[in-house]
């Protein structure tokens, strides 16, 4: 691997590493599992970097999806852990945050693939509308409209938690 590739991978990790781990942690609930899956994502990045061409964010997202999908196939029996937000100070806040995370986790699972992708790129990987547009082959204004629609879809799910079923969309 040449020095340029090594530098690009380092940049990719520096820019998206935390976002990927946050998204994965929200999806799987366990920090240990999230660390393992995030590591697998970036090991895949290293192994397949030479084959990558095109938008790097879209490629990274595809790897994240694939690794999460593999995880859920292998561990479909695992429940979302209840001790996720251990860093919060008070028990009531802890409980509140735990409930919110669980709800978000469930709602994200119910979202359509398009909505999941656009929300994750925007709010977890912290990608700008212009970059999302380049990744998905859309115009930036189209990304804005899709983002609006995805947030509305998420809000509806969060407002009606009983409407959510237990199906995982991954």
């Amino acid at each position: 691997m040449n020095e340029i590739s090594r530098k690009k991978i380092e940049e990719l990790f520096h820019r998206y590493g935390a976002g990927v781990s946050r998204y994965v942690l929200l999806r799987v609930g366990s920090p240990e599992l999230a660390e393992e899956i995030t590591a697998r994502v970036f090991l895949n990045v290293v192994r397949n970097f030479q084959q990558q061409n095109g938008a790097v964010v879209g490629w990274l997202w595809a790897i994240i999806r694939s690794e999460l999908s593999r995880h859920f196939r292998q561990h479909s029996h695992l429940a979302y852990p209840a001790d996720l937000a251990s860093s919060l100070p008070t028990p009531s806040e802890l409980l509140e945050r735990q409930e919110r995370d669980e709800l978000l986790h469930a709602a994200l699972k119910q979202l359509s693939d398009d909505a999941q992708q656009i929300l994750s790129l925007k709010f977890f990987l912290d990608v700008s509308n212009v970059e999302i547009a380049q990744t998905l082959g859309l115009t930036p204004s189209n990304v804005g409209v899709k983002l609006h629609r995805a947030l509305r879809e998420l809000r509806e799910l969060l407002q009606n938690p009983l409407a959510m079923d237990s199906r995982a969309s991954f």
């Binding site: 691997m1 090594r6 929200l26 990045v45 290293v46 409209v145």
Partner: protein, 140 residues
């Protein structure tokens, strides 16, 4: 640029937009963060993988170089062997025939004729050409 600088950009003008922006903020802040040490471990694994790939590629290059060198040596050795003149080439056994120098031999053919002594032999009664019979052919 912050992730919220363009969050409501290009949105259709609807009364619920403010509510959706606050949901977006909540979503961005909701997800728990993996501890920095865990992320550092992920980074270390990734770098170890890069180093491992580097080592593999270096060995592959060395092996490729060696195999090319071996192929060249074999080709040169084969060429010189079959063309001859090589120190590796075995000399072909030659059949040497010793030829003695020869001296010309005179060939003699000897015929023994016995000549009887006394009176010569009488001429043969009948001549080979009957001249008397064809005398007219010679006269004028």
């Amino acid at each position: 640029m912050s992730k919220f600088d363009d969050v409501s950009q290009d949105w259709p003008d609807e009364p619920e937009n403010a509510e959706l922006v606050s949901l977006a903020e909540e979503l961005a802040n909701a997800a728990p963060v993996l501890p920095a040490t865990a992320l550092a471990r992920v980074g270390a694994q990734m770098r170890a993988e890069i180093d491992g790939l580097d080592r593999q590629q270096r060995w592959r290059r060395v092996a490729f170089g060696l195999s090319v060198a071996a192929a060249v040596v074999l080709a040169v050795a084969g060429f010189t062997y079959f063309r001859g003149g090589s120190e590796f080439a075995q000399p072909q056994p030659r059949i040497v025939r010793k030829v003695e120098p020869t001296t010309p031999v005179a060939i003699e053919d000897r015929v023994a004729i016995a000549v009887s002594e006394g009176a010569p032999a009488a001429a043969t009664e009948k001549s080979l050409v009957r001249l008397e019979e064809y005398r007219s052919l010679f006269s004028d």
